[in-house]
Every structure is written in structure tokens, then in C-alpha cells.
């Protein structure tokens, strides 16, 4: 997956997560801030990395501001940010890479 531009997805509302993706050349750099860091910090990190891997993103600077989102919401916001960054709007790989 080639990322062409910076992109943002999600909101700062309760139960949501805001993901900012910037294309880079240094592998994956991940920064997480969360209202549930103590209890779910590890899980959030794992979910973001897993989602990026599945999408085939190998280089990106990713910033997560989480407000207690469930795994499926984090995954959805990461995917949305990635497709926006890659400028892919249709024929998404549902069930394959998503």
C-alpha cells in the first residue's frame, strides 16, 4: 500500500479514536495517547500494528488519540485513515485486507 498524503480519520468523541497518518520512510512509528492507557494501551498498540500489517502499510508515522474506543472502532479508523492517505475511494478489499 503506497501512502500519498497525510490523512486523518475518527474523532475525539468519547468511545472514538482519532488517527493521523503521515507517509514516511522509517518503518512504522506509532504514538498513542489514550484515556485508557493503563488497561488497554498494549491492546491498542497491537490492534493498530496488526491492522497496518494487514493493509500492507510498511512505512508511516501514526498518531493515535484514543478516547476509549473498542478494538473494532480503532481498526475502522486506522483503515479509513490509510485508504484516505492512499487516495483509494472505491473497490476496497472488504474481507481481504479489511
Amino acid at each position: 500500500m503506497i501512502l500519498k498524503k497525510n490523512a486523518i480519520a475518527g474523532t475525539l468523541e468519547s468511545s472514538d479514536a482519532q488517527i493521523i497518518i503521515e507517509p514516511s520512510h522509517n518503518g512504522i512509528e506509532l504514538f498513542i495517547r489514550s484515556t485508557v492507557m493503563g488497561q488497554y494501551g498494549k491492546q491498542i498498540r497491537a490492534m493498530v500494528l496488526k491492522t497496518l500489517e494487514r493493509l500492507g502499510v510498511e512505512n508511516a508515522k501514526v498518531t493515535v488519540v484514543d478516547k476509549g474506543a473498542l478494538d473494532c472502532t480503532i481498526k475502522a479508523r486506522v483503515e479509513c485513515a490509510v485508504f484516505r492517505a492512499a487516495e483509494i475511494k472505491e473497490n476496497l478489499p472488504w474481507g481481504v485486507r479489511i
Partner: protein, 296 residues
């Protein structure tokens, strides 16, 4: 499942994370994930991805899952259908349907998506939302246009403006449209649903409208706030008298049926086997309302 209880169909914004995670606690009969009016134009992609992920990871406890796709005149609806079908949606709700062609257009994309994503072809149901005068006029043609259609709904949102009138408490301006939709649905043998009531704090007004549409013959109503749900369920619940009458009908019909008799008179009323289904539906409704205490 084409025939099921659909007294309450709760709309929720598919993009809003806090709403999609456990709407089942409010116990609506159906949940409508909205990709259309509730979602901002620049968030359509996000809502779609959120919908797919929600469908794949959350257990909605047997509630029917519906998606309201974007209009057929937008660039979004095809991808909406792909995402929803891939996610395993039960029913696709097509907004602003005005003709059988609208249904065919959506159906074509649904079939393509079913094939692409390994869903049994024909499994995904549809419903047509009728929101314009032309749609009302064409309601019967729409209603019988596809085997996938489980029902049609009437949406008053813009309708009243197009009709050049205003919304009133008694709803006279909507009467013809509502009745037409019910007639069309019944003639085509499918279900029908009424429009949302947006004045969430006006409980009395809401109760009056629900009683009206029940009397008109609607199977259910779209809702936008969980507190509307118990009100509808209560009003749609059969009375104890109705339940007893239904029980009696079922028992007597079955008994006579054993002897090969299809029509007979009980308590001065004519009963025939065709009434069995209505009586059974009454009992099912009673059970779903939590008030059935018999043994049928």
C-alpha cells in the same frame, strides 16, 4: 428472514462510535445503520468502514441489521452495498425509491456483491423507502418489484414540503400517503413501516401518532431515540382479549382441520383456515411483547 417482527426500527449514525457498540440494550426489533442523511458528506467512507467492522465484530443478539445506503443518485451507493454485503448485513434499505427501476438498480449491485463476497445469492433482503409523491403513487409497483423486498416504508421528512403543506399534530396531510403505502404493501404481500417522529420530548404527541399508524395497519415504525421503543412495543402489544380470541381461533381451527373442515362458525363468527396465520401472528406478537402466558 423475510417475515419477522419489525415493530421498531432504530436508526443510528454508523459513523458514531459510541452508538454502534451496544444498541441492542434498547431491544429494538431492527437496527438501521445510516450511511445516508446522518453522515456528513466527507465521512461517508469512514461510516462505511465503521459499519463493516461493527458487523464483523459485534454480536447484535439476533436483532435484524439493516443499512440505509446513500441515494442512487450519489457516487456512494455501490461501495455502500459492497461494504454492507461483505459485512453480512441482513437488509438493504434504499432511500427515495420512486420506481421499480430503483429497486432493480440496487438489487443488481447487491447480487454482484453477494457473488463477490461469497454470500448466498438472494439472501440479502431489501426495503424501499418511499419519500416522495411519485414514490407514493408508484408504491404498489415498487412493492411487488422484487422477491428480496421484505417491506416498504413511508418517510415524511421532505414529503410535507414537497406537498406544499406543513406537519400537523393529527397528520391529515400524511393520511393519503400513509394509507397508500399500507395498501400497496398488503396488496404485494409485504410489510410496511411508518416515518420517524422527530420531536423526541413530545411523548404525548408520539403516543398519538403510534396509535394512529397502528390503526392504519402499519407493522412498525422507524425511531430515532431509544426511549421511543418501549412506547411502541406497548401500544403494539395485543390486549389480553385479543390474545384469548387468537388462542381460541387457533385451537378450533386446528381441531376442525383434523376433520377436514375448513370453514365453520364459532360464537357467531365465521372462521376459516385463512385466519390461522393472523391468529398465529397475534400470539407471536404477544410473546415478543412479553405478555403471553398461554401454552401455544
Amino acid at each position: 428472514m423475510k417475515n419477522r417482527l419489525r415493530r421498531t426500527m432504530m436508526f443510528l449514525n454508523a459513523h458514531k462510535a459510541s452508538l454502534v457498540k451496544d444498541p441492542y440494550v434498547y431491544k429494538p426489533d431492527s437496527i438501521i445503520f445510516d450511511l445516508e442523511d446522518a453522515v456528513a458528506e466527507n465521512q461517508k467512507d469512514s461510516a462505511r468502514i465503521a459499519l463493516y467492522n461493527a458487523l464483523k465484530s459485534i454480536d447484535y443478539k439476533g436483532i435484524e441489521l439493516v443499512v440505509r445506503i446513500n441515494g442512487l443518485d450519489t457516487p456512494h451507493f455501490k461501495e455502500d452495498i459492497r461494504a454492507a454485503v461483505a459485512g453480512g448485513i441482513h437488509t438493504v434499505r434504499v432511500p427515495k425509491t420512486e420506481s421499480p427501476e430503483d429497486i432493480f438498480t440496487a438489487e443488481k449491485e447487491i447480487e454482484k456483491a453477494e457473488q463477490e463476497f461469497g454470500v448466498e445469492v438472494g439472501k440479502t433482503l431489501m426495503m424501499g423507502a418511499i419519500e416522495t409523491p411519485l414514490g407514493v403513487i408508484k408504491a404498489y409497483d415498487i412493492a411487488k418489484s422484487s422477491q428480496r423486498l421484505m417491506g416498504i416504508s413511508f418517510g415524511a421528512g421532505d414529503f410535507v414540503r414537497t406537498m406544499r403543506t406543513t406537519r400537523s399534530q393529527e397528520g391529515l396531510e400524511l393520511l393519503a400517503a400513509r394509507t397508500q403505502v399500507v395498501l400497496a404493501a398488503r396488496a404485494a404481500g409485504i410489510m410496511c413501516f411508518d416515518t420517524v417522529y422527530t420531536d423526541v420530548d413530545n411523548i404525548e404527541g408520539f403516543i398519538n401518532e403510534v396509535k394512529l399508524i397502528k390503526q392504519l395497519g402499519f407493522d412498525g415504525k422507524s425511531i430515532i431515540n431509544p426511549k421511543q421503543i418501549p412506547i411502541i412495543h406497548q401500544i403494539f402489544a395485543p390486549t389480553q382479549a385479543e390474545i384469548r380470541a387468537a388462542e381460541k381461533s387457533i385451537r378450533t381451527i386446528n381441531e376442525y382441520a383434523k376433520d377436514g373442515i375448513g370453514v365453520f362458525t364459532v360464537d357467531g363468527q365465521m372462521l376459516d383456515i385463512a385466519m390461522l396465520e393472523g391468529a398465529k401472528r397475534m400470539i407471536e406478537l404477544a410473546k415478543a411483547s412479553g405478555i403471553y402466558e398461554g401454552d401455544l
